[in-house]
Amino acid sequence: MTHDTASQALPKALILTGFGINCEEEMAAAYRLAGAAPTIVHLNEVLHGRVSIHDFDVLNFPGGFSFGDDLGSGVVLANKLRYRQTGTDGRTLLSDIREFVAAGKFVLGICNGFQVLVKLGLLPNLGGDFQPEVTLTHNASGRYEDRWVRLKVNAQTKTPTPFLSELTSFEVPVRHGEGRLVVPDAATRERIVALGLNCLTYAGHDDQETGTYPLNPNGADLNCAGLTDPTGHIFGLMPHPEAYLAGCNHPDWGMKKRRGELKDEGEGLAIFKNIVTHLIRRTQEASAPATHA
């Protein structure tokens, strides 16, 4: 059995930037280190039709302060994707994203990018019609905070997102002022929990879910740090896995070094390796000889 067709092309990650997005470089580094081919483009290049998202496997919305978080984090950018027509036929980038996801491709949003996905209705998308169903707003503390948190992966997710494959818990920094998930009503909450779309929750040192500040840094409903859609193809989270690409990003790496346990690679890289592995495996399976089917 050969892998030649699969190994030819690296999975392609499109990373959007511009208008105040500011985590595009570390996100590109994450994909590069994970074995993918990242491309950073200004959003206008996509809106003006010079770059097509359909030429890529994963569409990424990095963190930052798009439009300065004026009018609410992610709002103006989401608005641009929903309303700005990319051609004369009334198409918008949102219509492209729908087709992109329908084609089995993946979307990742981190921090401000997650806020965009939520405001755009891509997450949690219980109704399947891309209408906003929940929101992310000001932390309960009323403050922006940079601190490290522990996240627990929800084992009850019906369709687990490949981004989180084989992960149970990990540490990452949060850096936001508007990360508190608000689920407007009990019915929505029940449906999210039933499908396990709340795929990441804030946890204590014992890996148990917690609402205690600062372990849950923002007071989010369901102690939720990240959401996936019912297909597992769209995934977003407030914390920053792309800020933990090296072992020495961790605030207590000195202790790990003292014990001889410090690794060059940081735990945040796993999420990117997961999706890259998934994409490569899928390509391999698709191109495997028919007799194996």
């Binding site: 208008f19 105040g20 500011n22 206008n44 302060f65 004026d70 609410g72 103006v76 906003p132 920053h240």
Partner: protein
């Protein structure tokens, strides 16, 4: 034609958590003693686009502004919620940056799919607060002015809901105002010249005004001017250009002055040929000679550009700049700080060709006591407000630009209550080559176009350069205030990055103090002249006079020199990235700066006179040794309470509430953050940041500042500050430069002097000679330190008039110098953090302790200053740092914390903060000499470290450090800090209690580190 205006009110739906409202109610009770009852916050927008119907506005509000989960929306009606009796409206004044309004305009353009005008203001954002109780208008106004805004920036409407909510929407500008006036100087008396300077905020002294008068009196010049279409006498524009260019801020006249210096203690007299030339440039020339002699040729650019540049490796340069933004921060703390950090970002961005990638920010802040309870002078803001506002400005300036704030310090002293000091630093990385050209060189050829890039021009910030060159008084001009727009600058930054890599820009500079007049005036010296067509400059609103356009310091603007052949491609890139670019003239080699408005000349100044015409000052300095004596403080047997008090003192306590609101790890490269360890509460000595993800090379960043020591001895204060910054870098594992040939370990230092008015005047500044003598001594120490460690200065700044005068009272800062240091780290995985790691590791004190409690935090507890100022022995310090470097090369040090405020006791305590359960058991008996327990514990002698060593490495470590290391004890697992000396237990307490005293100190109390409010 009157355009219809619509309003959009967004209120939170019932039951939604209103953090903003809760905070206002809590702060009103806490800081103003006002019982407001509940407070509800709301967002109000005024929409003033011609032709927009009410239903379009409603659709826009529902689709783009309203969060369907959170908000209710009302169009054209402003009703208070049930049960709320008062209101406060916070609007922005005319012409004040309104990013939120601009973002709404962008959203409207996307929503309508129409190219509407988004560059001038048509949507105005406001905040509205509904207050449950019926408060008198005076109380509401106090709440508005002291908690919700600043009357220099904001307009407030307050009142009873029953009387109807009054709205305010700014209507900036007026008609076009193309007038340029001529000002006749000939025949003016000295008095009249000075009055003219004062009335127009020229901030020029008599010899300078005389020089200008005499220049324009030359018959040949007058004839030539008339021939060119200019009036024979100077125009308002010309005088303004001269005032900006000759300002202390731009020309550093006092650092260039001849100083007659007398040391009355020693009787020595000397004439100093300029502080800058003698000590600062002099030191760096000497250091560079030593470096090059040893094959270290990494010093690339010093003092001659917006920021200094050193070589990291054959591919890239490190660019480093630290500046101050004190005067604006005194009158509008938020605006002052945000423009400070964004303005400082533009320096590395616009060094050489431009387009460096910003790597990190630092900030060092000096404030009055935030718990000050006395009366305030007219125009003076409460220190707590200044602290809060500056902190928020740095948060927004850094976080929204995506630049991590990795290091800083906050110093409190009541003498900073008039003018705070706000030091902003930025490090950046630039490729050695950009499109085949040396990136650090600024080249301009005649014929190159002058392009203004970024934000538009308004009246904001007019006279910033001259305003900052004079002392502040109660009549500070409102136009000197500006609000930065991080998002506008981020767009311009992204654009510069691409444009420089594509070779579209010949070189760039930033528009800071003096605006276009300074940026073009400076660039013009490269080609030998420039012509500016001022009417082409895009304005935020009409109504600016030509000279105002030329001087305005409106933020987020760069001036670019562009080859005509590249212009079209550059303009296309600007359109694509939504950065406004305007061609406003060209460079030539005619020897003058010529300004036209509508083709009519309004200024024509020879570059020689503009840049070299300012008369040199001669200043007097006289040093008298201040009286000082050691206090008699009865010794104690137990210093536990003393240590707890020190840890909770203003200058030592935790800054966590401030630090956590700065993003210190965006870009994913921060390796040593301000707070580390399992608890995230162990304070670190220096930050360490990787350059990129492809190598482990990085940079260590530290700051040294010790103003209180200057009350005893300015020389040793300056030397100690320099040493503090050096030892912090050594502590995290940095190596001194030039120890071996070609080791290529760059160091790059910015010196920043902030001193009170030091120009002697018998009437208004009788102790000016003594102040200037202190500055001379600070500079002497700087020169000695640079030479001793072989560390070069690469850039710096001096701020000379840090006085606040009102109601007949003057508050002057203590003479202050900050050394902001950076050094290359070969492998960030090998650096050292400050916290103890593991029980049984052996603890040593490195360096020597002396009876040097003068100026210490320990004496401060007793309101004493003492006399024995800590002194640096450069030779011994250098030897120790070299040995520490050797131990680190072998990976022998598990933790290292430098000793500073609070001495050994505080350093030991802080070393335990990284994890619960660790303690230390120590005996000071091994320390040589006959020092008292107080000196052993609290002396602030320089050049010392507390380190911990794994038991198996003790022999190797001791063989390197020899007598320079004193073994004190070991790390324990019982969570107790115990310190014995001569059979007494000096300290014995739980490390959790130590950390609690530190964490619950006044800074976290002021800024608030309370748990998140419960969300109902």
């Amino acid at each position: 034609m009157e355009t219809t205006q619509h309003s959009i009110l967004l209120t939170l739906q019932p039951g939604r958590h209103d953090g903003d409202g809760q905070r206002v109610a809590a702060d009103a009770a806490r800081h103003l003693g006002l019982a407001t009852g509940q407070v509800r916050s709301a967002a109000l927008y005024a929409v003033r686009y011609p032709g927009l119907t009410e239903s379009q506005v409603a659709d826009f509000a529902a689709a783009c502004l309203q969060d369907p989960v959170l908000h209710s929306v009302a169009i054209d009606q402003v009703a208070a919620p049930e049960g709320f009796k008062s209101y406060i409206l916070v609007a922005k004044g005319p012409g004040v940056t309104d990013d939120e309004g601009t973002s709404a305009q962008n959203a409207l353009s996307d929503f309508l799919n129409e190219p509407i005008d988004t560059r001038t203001q048509h949507i105005f954002s406001k905040r509205l607060y509904f207050v449950e109780h019926e408060l008198p208008a005076a109380d509401l106004r106090r709440l508005a002015e002291e908690l919700l805004g600043n009357k220099l920036i904001n307009r407030f409407e307050v009142g009873a809901v029953a009387d109807g909510v009054r709205d305010f929407t700014p209507r900036p500008g007026g008609g076009a105002d193309a007038r340029t006036e001529t000002i006749v100087l000939a025949g003016l008396s000295d008095e009249q010249l000075l009055q003219l300077s004062k009335d127009n905020v020229y901030a020029l002294n008599l010899p300078e005004m005389q020089a200008i008068r005499d220049h324009f009196a030359q018959a040949s010049l007058r004839e030539e001017r008339v021939g060119l279409g200019l009036p024979a006498d100077p125009t308002d524009c010309e005088l303004e250009i001269l005032a900006q260019t000759w300002s202390e801020h731009c020309k550093h006249k006092e650092f260039s002055a001849v100083i007659k210096y007398k040391n009355l203690e020693t009787g020595a007299e000397e004439e100093i040929d300029g502080l800058f030339k003698t000590f600062i440039k002099g030191a760096t020339i000497e250091v560079d000679r030593q470096l090059r002699a040893n094959g270290n040729d990494w010093l690339i650019k010093v003092f001659s550009d917006n920021a200094g540049a050193v070589r990291i490796n054959p591919e890239s340069l490190f660019v480093w700049k630290v500046e101050t933004h004190n005067s604006p921060s005194a009158i509008d703390p938020y605006g002052g700080a945000i423009t400070g950090i964004l303005g400082n970002n533009r320096d590395p961005l616009a060094t050489g060709i431009g387009g460096a990638r910003l790597l990190f920010n630092t900030n060092v802040l000096c404030f009055g006591n935030p718990d000050y309870e006395g009366e305030l002078l007219t125009g003076q803001l409460h220190p707590r407000r200044i602290f809060e506002g500056v902190r928020k400005g740095i948060e927004d300036g850094g976080n929204k630009s995506g630049v991590p704030t990795v290091n800083g310090a906050i110093i409190f002293d009541d003498r900073y209550a008039g003018k705070p000091l706000v030091y902003c630093g930025t490090g950046a990385v630039m490729p050695m080559q950009l499109a085949g050209k040396d990136s650090w060189e600024k080249v301009i050829l005649p014929g190159d176009r002058i392009i203004m890039a970024g934000g538009r021009v308004g009246k904001d910030g007019i006279h910033g350069a001259t305003f900052s060159s004079i002392e502040l008084d109660e009549a500070a001009p409102a136009t000197a205030v500006q609000i930065g727009s991080p998002i506008t600058q981020k767009l311009a930054m992204d654009f510069l990055l691409l444009a420089t890599r594509r070779g579209l820009i010949r070189c760039s500079t930033d528009n800071g103090a003096g605006g276009l007049s300074s940026s073009i005036g400076e660039l013009a010296t490269i080609s030998g002249g420039a012509v500016v067509e001022l009417e082409k400059v895009p304005l935020k609103y009409p109504g600016l006079k030509p000279w105002e356009i030329f001087l305005s310091e409106s933020q987020e603007r760069f001036t670019l020199a562009v080859e005509p052949a590249k212009l079209d491609e550059l303009l296309a890139l600007g359109r694509e990235m939504e950065v406004e670019l305007t061609d406003i003239g060209f460079f030539n080699a005619e020897g003058s700066l010529d300004v036209l408005f509508d083709n009519k000349p309004i200024a024509g100044l020879s570059l020689d006179f503009l840049h070299d015409g300012v008369p040199r000052k001669t200043l007097l300095a006289e040093y008298v040794k201040p009286e000082a004596k050691e206090p008699a403080i009865a010794p104690l047997y137990d210093y536990t309470d003393t240590l707890l008090k020190l840890l909770g003192s203003l200058n030592i306590c935790s800054r966590e509430s401030v630090i956590r609101q700065y993003d210190h790890e965006v870009k994913g490269r921060t390796v040593v953050k301000p707070l580390m360890g399992a608890t995230g509460q162990a304070p670190q000595d220096a930050a360490v940041v990787r350059f990129n993800f492809e190598s482990w090379e990085g940079v260590a960043v530290s700051n040294g500042i010790l103003p209180r020591m200057g009350d005893l001895d300015a020389y040793h204060m300056s030397a100690g500050s320099f040493d503090e910054a050096v030892r912090q870098i050594i502590s995290v594992g940095g190596k001194l430069p030039n120890l071996t040939p070609g080791d290529n370990i760059f160091w790059s230092v910015n010196d920043n002097f902030c001193v009170p008015d030091s120009v002697y005047d018998p009437a208004i500044n009788p102790d000016g000679k003594q102040k200037l003598a202190k500055l001379v001594q600070m500079c002497q120490a700087l020169r000695d330190a640079c030479a001793a460690y072989c560390i070069p200065l690469t850039s710096g700044k001096d701020s000379m008039k840090n006085d606040f005068k009102a109601d007949g009272v003057k508050i002057s800062v203590p003479p202050t110098v900050l050394y902001s240091m950076t050094a290359k780290v070969e492998d960030v995985r090998q650096v050292v953090t400050s916290d103890f790691k593991q029980a049984d590791d052996v603890i040593y004190l490195l360096g020597e302790t002396y009876d040097e409690l003068g100026g210490s935090e320990f004496y401060q507890l007793y309101n004493e200053l003492g006399a024995n100022v800590p002194k640096v022995d450069f030779a011994k310090a250098k030897e120790l740092y070299t040995l520490v470097g050797e131990a680190n090369s072998q990976g022998l040090i598990q933790s290292s914390h430098d000793l500073s405020d609070g001495g050994l006791a505080v350093a030991l305590a802080e070393s335990t903060f990284g994890r619960d359960g660790l303690g230390a058991d120590l005996d000071l008996g091994s320390l040589a000499g006959e020092l008292s327990p107080t000196a052993l514990l609290f002396s602030e002698s320089h050049s010392r470290f507390v380190v911990s060593i794994a038991p198996e490495d003790v022999t190797a470590f001791e063989s390197i450090l020899g007598q320079r290391a004193s073994r004190l004890g070991r790390v324990t697992a019982d969570g107790q800090l115990r310190v014995q000396h001569a059979g007494h237990e000096l300290l014995s307490l739980n490390t959790t209690d130590l950390r609690a005293a530190w964490t619950n100190g006044p800074v976290n109390q002021t800024i608030g580190l309370e748990p998140a409010a419960l969300v109902k």
